[in-house]
Structures are given as C-alpha cells and as structure tokens.
Subunit: 181 residues, 4 copies
C-alpha cells in the first residue's frame, strides 16, 4: 500500500521529518512516497486555468495516486504551518475535483521540540481532513514531544517510550488502513 | 491609527477583498495599509540567515509599523488559507523577534459565498492570534456569509443587514482599539 | 445494528431532537436507542466509588451495549451544551474503563435554528471523539441549519434539500458502519 | 476589583482548584469569589420560566456582580468538563440577558497532571468566551502541566518555573484588567 507522506516543516534537518522517517520501520507493508511541498506556488484561484502551475499538477497526481496519507507536522503559532496548509489547498482544488477524494485512510502525527507535542496543529489538521474526507486514525493520538531528545548521536530512535508509542501506532494504522482496503 | 489589512484570498476579485474594502468607510479614524502576502516565499527556517528573503523583511517591517491588524479571510478546507498562514508564520519569526509583538488590537472577519460565514477559519485564526498576542475584538463576531449577494452591480455594498453589522463592527473596533492606544 | 442516540438539548420540543428522529427513516437496518442524559449527576471524581450514582452506571451500560453512536447537538456558546459534555465525561470514566471503548462507528449532526448549523459544536465534539476512539464519519458533514423551517405543520420533514442531505448521510453512514462491523 | 473564579473540576482536592488558589498571591488588588458550580441543574430551556431554579438565579447574580473572570479548568476528553460548560450555559441565558455581558476582562488557566497542560480545554473555552464577550488575556498562555509536582508536602507552591509563570501572569492580567477598568 502506497502512502504519501507530507511533512509540514521545510527545514532540511527538521525534527518532524526525522520522526516521519523513524516511523517507517514500524509500518511494514507500506511503501512511502515523501512528497515535496516547499516548491508549490501559493494557491491562487486566478492561476486555476487550463494550464495551472506544473508543480500543482504533479502534486495533485501524487495525491491521487496515493492509497493512504501520513501528515507529519510541527506547530507554528498554535496551528499547522502555512506550507502544509498550502499543499492541502492545492491538492483539494479545483472544487469538485479534489485529489484527496475517495475516503482513503490517513494519520496525523504532530511533533514538537517542547512539551505540548503540537496539540493545536494536530487538531486543526484533523478539522481540515473532515472536509477532505480522509479517514483519520483516532487512537493512539500522536503528539510527539521533546523530539530532540528521542534520537541518539547517529540519528537513530533511542527513546523507549517513543518506540512503544510508534509500535502501537504502526499496528493501529495497519488495522485501520485494512478497513478501507 | 494605521491598520494593516491582511486578506487571505489571493484572487484579484475575491469577495474577501471586497468585504475588507467595504468595511473601510465604517472605520473612520483609521488609515489602511493593504499588505501584499501572495509573493512571500514559504517559511523555511533554513532561509532565516543574516540575509533572509527581502520579501520577508519588508513584510515584517510593515507588521511592525502597524498599530492594529485586520485579518479578512475566506475559509479553505475548514480553516484559513495557506497563504495567510504563511504570512503569519513569516511575520512571527525569528523566535523572540515577532513583528506582531506588543499587544496591539486586531479583528478577524471571515467571509464566504456560502452559508456558514467561514466559522472554521475565523476561530482557527483566533487560536493563532492568542500566540501572537494580538488582542482580538470579541463582539460582534464577523461571519460574513452569502458574500456575493451583498454588493450591487457597481460593486457597492447594498445589503442592509450587512451595513448594520459593519456599522456595529466599526464602532466596536474603534472603542476596542482605544483601550490599547 | 443498535445505535445509541445522544441528543444535546434537554428541551422536550427541541429542534435537535426532531432532526434526530427525522433521520431514522433514512437509516434502515439500525435500531435506535434514544438515551436519556438530562438526569445524569455532574461528573465528580469523588463520587467514583464502589457505588457510583446509579444513573451513571445505567448510562455506561447503555453506551457499552451500543454498536454505534449518533450525536445530535445544538450549539450553545460556540460549543456543545454542558449536558452533552457531561454525559460523555460520565461515559468515558473511570480512566481505563471507558464505556465508549472499542473503535465503534459514530456520526455527528449539529443543528441550529440559525444560519451557521452549529459548526462550532460539531467540530469541538469531533475533537472529543478522537480521544474516545469513536470512528466518526467524515462526509457528508451534517450542519443542519434553519431547523425550524424544515418541518411542516404536522412535524414531518418537508424540506427537499434537507431530505437529500439526510438520504446522502444515511447511505454514507451505513457504508461507514459496515467497515467496523 | 472582584474576580469570579470558576473551577472546572468538582473534586474536592482537585489540582485545578489548588492551582487557582496558588495564583491568588500573584494577583494583588483583586478579591476572589470562588463560585460554586457543582450544584447547578443542567441547563434545560423548559426550566426557563418566571421561576427558574434558584441555583441558576444565584449563579447569574454572582456572574453579573463580578468585574472580572478567572476560568481554571482541567481537560476532560480533549475539551472542558461538562460541569464548567453547564455553568457557562446557565450564566449566558436567557438569550439577550447574559449575565456575562459587558466586555469584562478574563483569563483562562488550564491544568493537567500530565504533559500537555490542558491545551484542548484552554482553546475550546476561549472559543466560547468570544461569544460571551469576555475579553481574554492572550499572553502569557497558561498551560499548567505536571500539576501534581508543583506543590510541596504542605500544599505550598514549590516549583520555581511555575512561580515565575504565575508572577508573569499576575502582572500581565493586572495590566490587562486595567484596560477595561
């Protein structure tokens, strides 16, 4: 099953990206398509012509090709980053032709270097995914906090409680995705 | 008092922009700075060097120079557009140097051509403004719905109940802004 | 399939209750258990002894016996009524023994006599249902507005667009519930 | 200045209540009215007669007499407890006669024994307070986490970073309240 991974932080060495990568071994049976979102022109309906920006078209094709979605996001100003929201806006248009259509399974993982684990971003994103008709896993919720302390000096996941959470998440998501298979 | 106006839709003829313009006569005593947000590169911390993108620097200067903020936003996918969120992300950085700092007064106006008046965008934006320390007017809430029906064929505001709401809003915001003067 | 119906308004003639009843013919194959919530003592952990209030125990048993949940709610002060939230608090306790446990299917229907259809209540309730692990139908979203105008003088559903929405909802929920059967 | 304190947990020894009490020394110049909410009958419009429940009337009078509001709340199921929401529902009715009316200053403090500090309760409550026209302090946000570890064996606040946060909060709220004096 091909899962599109959207990472909300554009920073090359972002903790969110590391967490998204670290989840992969806990999700056997999936292939991961790490989708680029940093180059997408800001959504503007005036560009929605017969020839929309090629970056939009390619992104939309990737969303359409995916069988599931993993959203990994930091929290910027108590909600999701503009870059991630822009990608969703692009993918959901034009009206009536959303490339997310079809009740596909998805998951939200919010990540923070601090204590609160991106709670605000996590739930705002879930509100958006209601509209997109992405069927989002409910439990376990994934608020990954203190992200900088989860990895050892080689970048390997080293925190035991994170490992347990990731394992639980991987199993739950596999069972969830099967319901929509 | 100089108020920066941020419009969440980039479309040239957007209803949100028209509503923002139509509010001006109801807000005497303010000068309006319609700030461009469509050209801002997506926020990426890797670009936050000694020489960040010039569009970022100019936008941050405009935010800093404003004495109040008016956010006029459509709802995309049950929350604010990526373009508006990106502008806020840019303005709020780098950490500890937010150009919104200083407990300035602000208001949120959500606009939709449909029935629900952008409720989801309105309140998600309010959650973000808590973090930015923008003091947001509470009442009257501004959910401007059926936006396409508010204007006559010359583009003038023609709807009586909208006029009354705008008038109430203008008076309330003037009184609110005075508390922070 | 036995579905527990929780109505957020305690008023005998509430529009929300009428809408919940009006949905039933559009949901063939379900039996409806209209659960009382108005008599539940406010949740207080000090009452969580070996002998909790009998109303709590009965309600918890009803939640446990249900195979699906339908939450029909008005919006009070931009979120769900205290009475509905209290029922959920009672049902979810004691910790580790939630009577909602088990990834059962559910749906949220928000109802208002005004224009906005209870958007705020709808999404706040969805946030709570993430924690309860109730798998909530995403589409169609059910914001039932202008509720007073949907019924004829005999109390029968008479509004055509409401009928279409209810029909779409009934079919979508049946398909959704089957995924969890 | 008389501030009404509403505590969302009914448990006698609740952490939230302790935190609310511990804030008082950091808020000189205020007198604190700890309002009872656990005895309020669930809001039901059918009881809104010429003779509503006396507990409602007394509570409404207390809300009306207050010059400011402090809401201290735990998080139950990712939002505020039913008991607190019910109190707000009672106080805000009947329509057009809200006992919260008048743009009074307020603050939200969310408390948890765990890591996330009641983020979900904090922001849901803020959404409600928009409708009530309570002017809520934006910064510092008060997410009081690990609440059980803040106090010494005599019940005195003993955590240094909590003390600093409470001090910052007390000063900010005093300045905020003055704007509405």
């Amino acid at each position: 099953m091909k899962i599109a991974v959207l990472v909300g932080s554009l920073r090359k060495d972002s903790w969110t990206r590391k967490v998204a990568r670290a989840l992969e071994p806990f999700m056997p049976g999936f292939t991961f398509d790490h989708v680029e979102i940093g180059h997408l022109p800001l959504y503007n309906q005036d560009l929605e012509t017969d020839q929309p920006p090629t970056e939009w078209t390619r992104f939309r094709d990737e969303m359409r090709a995916a069988q599931a979605y993993l959203f990994a996001t930091p929290e910027y100003n108590r909600t999701i980053p503009g870059a991630l929201k822009n990608a969703i806006d692009v993918g959901s248009r034009p009206p009536g032709k959303s490339s997310f259509a079809g009740t596909k399974p998805g998951a939200v993982v919010s990540v923070s270097p601090g204590m609160f684990g991106g709670f605000g971003a996590n739930h705002h994103l879930r509100q958006t995914l209601v509209f997109l008709d992405v069927a989002v896993l409910q439990q376990p919720e994934m608020y990954v906090n203190n992200a900088a302390k989860l990895f050892d000096e080689h970048g390997a996941l080293a925190d035991d409680s994170a490992k347990k959470l990731f394992e639980k998440f991987g199993a739950a998501f596999a069972a969830w995705a099967k319901r929509f298979g």
